[in-house]
Subunit: 207 residues, 2 copies
């Protein structure tokens, strides 16, 4: 039933870099414009964002509730319901980003971590990759928000979060995807991923 | 059970624009840098992408299979499994984008359309909004790919697509989200949205 995509037949889809130029260097993303060649030797231009990558975190407490943030996002000009998340610092693996952001944004550390899945939010114009982690065994640590970072924290039942999702109130993709997976795990429809201490993920990151 | 987020308490999250500057004008997105004020009057800088918005399309055939594309995405440098999608042309509503892209990319028109949900793929750095549409009652029309657009089409069972999703082979967010919704609708776990001709959606777009 699982479809096979033939790498031989798909070789005709590939594009190779002929030249690359950085057009804009920002605080956390750059804009590049590349000349590329397709397999028929035709040349085309691709403009895109270079992003450092990110991690999202689904913190679960002893009662099975999850921690979400309400945060104003300036680009889309609205307050969103979202799981904690943040950009990778240089050289950081996403488990380290997740551990750091969980502490900074929510004031928690976690005993155990599980890798949920990896998403590419904007394949049409950005190279951003985001790993989604689940954690449990939470303990309080000092919260350290960045300058200009304002958010409000709420503990929600997974069924309540799913209800928001299915009524179009979770347009943020990491939170939407995490919620749909989580609801199925809570209902026993898909298995839970493996939990282990952050250190084990540092030694053997997800593929 | 549904959580209430209090607009009064959340007023402290809002940010207002003090000044705005376009730093880069690209072929389909711009980069802006704004000075913003928070409610405590502190000033901060926000750099972000201005994107025209987009529509994604889930075409369903008479046997209940869905149409996906295999396409090389230059920014993340990989071939992705994805539902057809495209950017809005100026002044276009997303149902028109969906009708147009379905024809251009796949060579089909559809008798009936349903609004699945709306996502914001990259709230941290872009204003892009994407509406996800489902369509059925497909008929062939002429395919008209853009210059430099190469893709391969496959009809898949929804269960096969779900299996790819749950084994981390659908990192594209529109396709990941569409698949998780669709699998639940096929299994009767959530209701189907309302189908109607594209013209009815033009007259009364989703909120």
């Amino acid at each position: 039933m699982s479809p096979r995509f033939d790498p031989g037949r798909e070789a005709s889809l590939l594009e190779s870099t002929v030249a690359s130029e950085v057009l804009f260097t920002g605080h956390f993303f750059d804009v590049a414009r590349d000349r590329i060649a397709q397999v028929d030797s035709s040349l085309h231009t691709r403009e895109y964002i270079r992003h450092p990558g990110a991690a999202a975190i689904i913190p679960i407490d002893a009662q099975g509730r999850v921690l979400i943030e309400r945060q104003y996002r300036y680009a889309p000009r609205a307050v969103f319901t979202e799981f904690p998340a943040g950009k990778r610092d240089p050289g950081e693996s996403t488990i380290d980003t997740a551990v750091r952001e969980l502490a900074e944004e929510t004031g928690h550390c976690a005993a155990e971590w599980a890798f949920l899945t990896r998403i590419y939010p904007a394949i049409g114009f950005a190279d951003e990759r985001m790993d989604i982690w689940i954690c449990r065994g939470l303990e309080p640590v000092e919260q350290r928000l960045d300058s200009g970072e304002r958010l409000q924290l709420h503990w929600l039942e997974v069924e309540a979060l799913l209800a928001l999702c299915l009524t179009h109130q979770i347009p943020d993709v990491k939170t939407h995807i995490g919620t749909l997976w989580l609801a199925q795990m809570y209902r026993g429809q898909i298995p839970w991923p493996r939990f282990q201490p952050a250190q084990a993920w540092r030694e053997h990151p997800p593929a």
